[in-house]
Amino acid sequence: MLTASERALRLVRKPGAVEDACRFAELATSSCDGACREAVTLAATELAENLLKYCERTRGTFAGTLSILLDEKQVCIRSHNAVLADGDAEHVVALVSRIRATPGGARHLYRERLRELFEAPQLPRAQLGLLRLAYEGGFELKATFERPMLEVAAIRPALGAE
């Protein structure tokens, strides 16, 4: 029987930071099945990339914190950081609300976003990360923004956890 365990990683802006997040996810989910590990690695990578791209820059190289809470039923991966621009955080909160409010929304919204990128290749940002977490990873997403801190949580069953 798995007991609840939580691990945290302080992510810093440096070469190899995303790889650090991947290794962190793999270690934290080593008792889970392949699909769960694959999903959490996806989430760790996308959330880490978002931390590195959108974190506030006056705290040295510190970008934010990734944490993973695993118990026998579910896994929750969470990112927590101060944001560079309020608009970025507000976009995240709005997108998560939209995913949660759209029935069967993840695939539909992912397809819709790919269609937008297909029809407008000049759009500057892909903004697919959270949609992939919901669609490919099967995560339920939550997001809160209390200036300047943004927290994103991604939760899914920990199938195969022993």
Partner: protein, 138 residues
């Protein structure tokens, strides 16, 4: 989005960009492998895929095969590289066939949606992992 690259892609000469591998098997087929995240040379990979597109157009290849079964993971930016490539293939009137491993979640789910962007341009072939051809890069 072009980075300086030392050499152009040539058949049977695999190259590595960070953790990502590109192996042009012939004028009409490429094998991709490894993983691609933010710090793995995404811009150079984008430039290499663009190079492949121009190669296909220049050589008037009507049907190009992209084997992604050895790609363990790509970030969102890389998904966009495939969106852009499909767009260019459609505009230049050639077809792209992606070989995917249905056991890899991102390949199975993302390519089913990518095909829907241009069904007349994109083919998806789900193939068992045991027929994979492994390629070592220098």
């Amino acid at each position: 989005m072009t980075e300086k690259m030392d050499e152009e892609l040539k058949p049977n000469v695999p190259i590595r960009v960070g953790g990502f591998r590109i192996y042009l098997k012939s004028d009409s087929a490429v094998l991709l492998g490894g993983r691609l995240a933010l710090q793995d040379g995404g811009r150079e990979v984008a430039a290499r895929l663009d190079e492949l597109h121009h190669r296909v157009v220049t050589r008037k290849v009507g049907h190009f095969v992209v084997d992604v079964r050895e790609v363990d993971f790509v970030n969102s930016s890389a998904i966009r590289f495939f969106v852009d490539w499909i767009n260019k293939a459609k505009k230049n009137d050639y077809r792209l066939s992606f070989k995917i491993d249905p056991g890899v979640t991102w390949q199975r789910l993302s390519f089913s949606v990518l095909k829907s962007l241009a069904p007349e341009t994109v083919e998806i072939h789900s193939l068992p992992a045991e027929v994979l051809e492994h390629v070592d890069c220098e």
